[in-house]
């Protein structure tokens, strides 16, 4: 039987303003982990009831790396965890990215904290021709980590403080236009994912999008995290972001409004 796990924090470094890299023990209970899966973490703290979904950013033999943005009360508590403290963790949860061995040329595109899960994906795509496009509002992070696996990572910042000035989806369009591409993997804010979907539609490219939705159970039981996807028969199907996602095929996701 699966159970929640209690894992020690092995390190905690602020890698950019309000962005922490937290490494936790990889204990046996985790079993096999696929890139794109997430952990559901209890943050503690006054009045906070629910767990918080946090992507697995990278996996090493003895540890799991998480990249956490100080967003609200829960993630603040996570960012403040000290080495040696224990986290109450459920997971790995979700489906993860599908990787097709046939595929040769891949684009990996991430926006902001959405860059986090792409790191393990890039590691497991080793051997393929990968273009990595990373977008940030201002201060970039994780770029060196990606560079370790793929040379020539391209960075966009909205304020132009680093790399291309503008949206990372501009880089995507250029990349698609100018190169043969088999599949695009994307994770980031909804507005970015919509643009990725648009671009992929226009260029008739396959894509996988990792989406975000508020969650309660994280295991598929409560139906608060439903996502609308296109379905053959009825036109539309309601699936669970936590269990059937968070990664969906780009041509099926139907974004809100």
């Amino acid at each position: 039987m699966k159970d929640r796990m209690f894992c020690k924090v092995l390190s905690n470094v602020e890698i950019a303003k309000d962005i922490h890299k937290l490494e936790i023990e990889r204990i046996d209970g985790f079993g096999e982990i696929k890139p794109g899966q997430f952990l559901h973490i209890k943050c503690g703290g006054e009045g906070l009831l629910l767990r918080r979904p946090i992507s697995i950013s990278y996996i090493e033999k003895d540890r799991i790396g998480l990249i956490i943005r100080r967003a609200g009360k829960g993630t603040k508590l996570l960012c403040d965890k000290k080495v040696g403290e224990t986290l109450d963790v459920l997971g790995p949860l979700g489906n993860g990215f599908s990787i097709d061995d046939e595929v040769e040329k891949v684009i990996v595109i991430g926006g902001g904290i959405g860059t986090a899960p792409l790191l393990e994906l890039v590691k497991s795509l080793k051997g393929k021709d990968i273009a990595v496009l990373l977008g940030y509002r201002d201060e970039p992070y994780l770029v060196d980590d990606f560079e370790q696996w793929v040379k020539g990572v391209k960075v966009a910042t909205e304020d132009g403080s680093f790399g291309y000035k503008g949206y990372v989806t501009d880089l995507l369009e250029e990349e698609i236009k100018n190169n043969r591409v088999d599949i695009i993997y994307a994770c980031g804010p909804e507005i970015m994912l919509k643009k990725v979907q648009d671009i992929c539609n226009r260029y008739k490219k396959k894509s996988q999008l990792s989406i975000e939705e508020r969650m309660a159970c994280g295991v598929g039981a409560c139906l608060v995290c439903t996502c609308k996807v296109k379905a053959e028969e009825k036109g539309v199907k309601y699936v669970r972001t936590c269990k059937d996602g968070p990664v969906f095929w780009g041509d099926e996701v139907m974004f809100h409004e």
Binding site: L49, R214, M215, G218
Partner: protein, 304 residues
């Protein structure tokens, strides 16, 4: 250590132990089967069913509140026929009571569902007359004693199954409602469903839930739930299944003392998928420590 007798007999519905899991918080059992041996749960209230498939409410459907949560799922479910065909057989593999939570917009809806389910292997029906997340019917039924009596009576006449009526806490006098359900022919009462609440995003200046309001559950509501279980179990002769914010065995003991013949665990499953088993163990230890030999000895034993 003598084994404690954990079985309960709820007016004919026999549970191996008094731990059930609350409707809407445990899906159709499949998702939690990885975490809990379903054979060890007293009963499973499945996700709320309607006659036809429902897609539920738009997103977002959840807000965290201080020690609680608001949900606005809106009874997303595949419909009763699908349930019977595709989910019930799965659940019936396990040695646990399967309780179908039924929801309607009209009395006829409830009756039709009761009729349909009468010819299946479900062990009991839980008639939800209290869901705050549907537009018609739903909550209206649950707040008027006459309506509660009427819908209970008609459903009672349309089905041969053990009939649980699930009450809404959003009422002035829960005792009246409980008595109306009993008079209508309910075999058992379950309470509480969620309180109605709202949460606002102060940056966007709009409600967090797409539908604005939602149902409040979790520890925040426990004091209200314990009070209502106490009040209702005093005035009815049928058993009460207590729920609302049960997170650990100590919470469960409060409900038993207040008069609950069994309990149901909802929101807590989301925080700790194995919580039902931990509560079962904690209860056994408590009973042992207090010198009881059966859970039945605890029920309604509040000194007051």
């Amino acid at each position: 250590m003598n084994k404690i007798d954990m079985s309960v007999d709820l007016n004919g519905l026999k549970l191996k132990n008094p731990i059930t899991v609350a409707s809407g918080t445990f899906g159709f059992g499949r998702e939690y089967a990885e975490y809990v041996d379903l054979n060890k749960i007293g009963g499973i209230m499945v996700k709320g069913l309607t006659l036809e498939e429902r897609q539920g409410n738009p997103m977002p459907r959840v807000v965290e509140t201080p020690m609680g949560m608001l949900n606005s799922v809106g009874l997303q479910n595949p419909g009763v026929e699908y349930f019977i065909k595709n989910e019930l057989p799965y659940l019936k593999q396990y040695d646990t009571k399967v309780i179908a939570n039924i929801n309607g917009n009209t009395i006829e809806d409830y009756c039709k569902m009761a009729e349909i389910l009468s010819n299946t292997s479900v062990d009991a029906l839980e008639m939800n007359i209290s869901c705050p997340n549907v537009k018609e019917g739903g909550v209206a039924f649950g707040t008027d004693p006459d309506m509660v009596y009427k819908v209970t009576k008609q459903v009672r006449e349309n089905c041969n199954k053990f009939l649980i009526v699930k009450l809404s806490p959003n009422v002035s006098d829960i005792k009246e409602i409980g008595m109306a359900a009993e008079k209508g022919g309910a075999d058992c009462i379950s309470l509480i469903n969620t309180l109605i609440g709202m949460g606002i995003d102060i940056e966007k200046q709009k409600p967090i839930l797409a539908r604005g309001i939602g149902g409040l559950s979790g520890p925040a509501v426990k004091p209200v739930a314990v009070r209502m279980v106490y009040e209702v179990s005093k005035v009815v002769d049928i058993p009460v299944i207590g729920m609302g914010g049960i997170m650990d065995y100590a919470d469960a003991v409060e409900f038993f003392l207040a008069g609950a013949g069994a309990i149901s665990i909802g929101t807590a499953n989301f925080i700790n998928p194995r919580v039902s088993m931990e509560i079962l163990k904690g209860l056994e230890d408590y009973l042992q420590r207090k010198g009881y030999s059966s859970i039945k000895e605890l029920i309604g034993q509040l000194k007051f």
